[in-house]
Amino acid sequence: MKLDRRGVLKALTAIPVVGALIAVLSPFFRFLKPNDKPWGIFTITPDLPQGGAQVVGKVSQLAKPWDSFYFTYVQRFVQYTPEGQEASNVPGVAIRLPKKVRFVNSEGYVGFDGETDIVLFSRICPHLGCIYNYVSDWHEVSAGYGGFRPPGFEQHALMACPCHFSIYDPEYPDNPGNVISGPAPRGARYFRFEIHGDDIVVTGAEVGAIAQCAPGGAASPREA
């Protein structure tokens, strides 16, 4: 490799030229991602979706331990539409646990102030974004979700994802919803909620997991 004066000078002149070119062209990336501010295409802190308080169900629907129901929490994302935002579904599951727990996960997200035996998880798998199921009989998890056989203390209802067979334990000690098998890097995400009388009111959802489902194509006549 030959490095003479001419080569060095050429390289040195090239740097500002290329830099200027990138600088001039970079705002055009906003064509692909228009909700970013100019010069802010790779925003490290994304625009946080807004949900507000929504009543998702009743405490009386969860009478016995391991009773559950599915619900949908709607969040609004900043988006380049005529309204300036887009609504997206976050499917969730509410479960009555047999004993009271502190609903705080190892990431430090507080789902409920104080102890609770009702827990609310986002059903968007923290692995790659499929929607996992609440499976009331763990035998079904062993049979249909990759052959995982839970140890004795976890032989109760579990949450299992059909895509890559991550299994979550809703009453995992000190970290409810933690992953106990499969490739997921963390436990199930939480909803933050309050209980007003008989109403379960969701006030927020743990951030992460892009690609929540848009309610657009939800009307599916062939739903099984």
Partner: protein
Amino acid sequence: MEAVLANLREWFQDRKQRLDLWDETQTARQDNPLYILGGLVWLSWMIVIVSGIVLMLWYIPTTTGAYRSIEHITYDIPFGWVVRGLHKYGGDMLITCITLRIYRMYFAGEYKKPGELTWMILFASLVLAMISGVTGYTLEWNQRAFWAAKVILTVPTYYDDIPLIGNLGLGHAIAYIFLGGPALGQGTLTRFYSIHFGISIVLAIVAETFFYRTRRRRLNVSAFAIVLVLVFLAFVSFINLPDLGQWANNNRTPLPVLSDWYFLALYQVVKYMPPLWAGVAPALLIGYGMLVPFLDRTKETLPTRRPFFFVVGLLAVIYWIGFSALIMLNIAVISRDPPYIWGITVVVLFAAFLWELAYRRRQARRGAASAPAPAGASRPAPRPAAS
């Protein structure tokens, strides 16, 4: 610097002269069916482009209209089924032919000089064909498509977790750009439609320029073979037109859910690995594929005379078939299997390495016996110059 550039330019010019993408004239052995694969790649590509453009006459690229419009094409419109069948099975044939040709080139050592550029273009075209595949089957907007797209577009978000680099927001930006919004919806469908169409059309123009400037034959295959392929694809479409499956439902992931066949092995690997690795592993595989002509530097083309690279290729075939079988039969226990798979891989690769060493030592001894030159004893014997 300039000398390096000049060398590079010379290398590129030389390899470009001997590009052998479709006509197979550089290696023509017309008695061997493996050597019409180049022509079949071109043929199936053209079938896919033409049938795809015909499908565009009726397809509606909206989340509410896509599924119905494909139903409409398949069952209501005269001859719609054959156009859709040719598009679907033509695409499958394209990927099959590229894959077979890659394996042929690998095991026959055709990626070696002067075939490096041909190999790299072919390998890149497999990646592009798979991208076309995934963007294409998302257009059906059925359950399989929806969840495949969602999983694939969640993978880039893990690039923000790569240690040492730190979170630059790049992964989420990539995901957002392909999603066309914060969620999988109309924006995604539109962008996938554009990518699906764009890849083939842009490459077709590049290929035409190549043909125009080099006067190569596009289709070095007999008319009989062409008719046979067309009749076969139409016949397969007639007896077994692929089912549309269920309309995408964004609140329910079906169990089990499978991807298209060429992603099945990768899908099984993703079950075994942490997600960041699963995002990086395919990139490493592609990197290995692109660089293998420069890693395997001997001039040997016979598999048994380059044992290590032969075993790597063999392992790739076996894993591809094995993982696909595991996921289709749904018999893998994902909490138990990974250590065994790692163990087998390490043992086999180490054995291959030993084989390579033993082979080279034997060659060196033989070389020393035939030509007693002490300097050459420590390196492989001089080989007949190929090409």
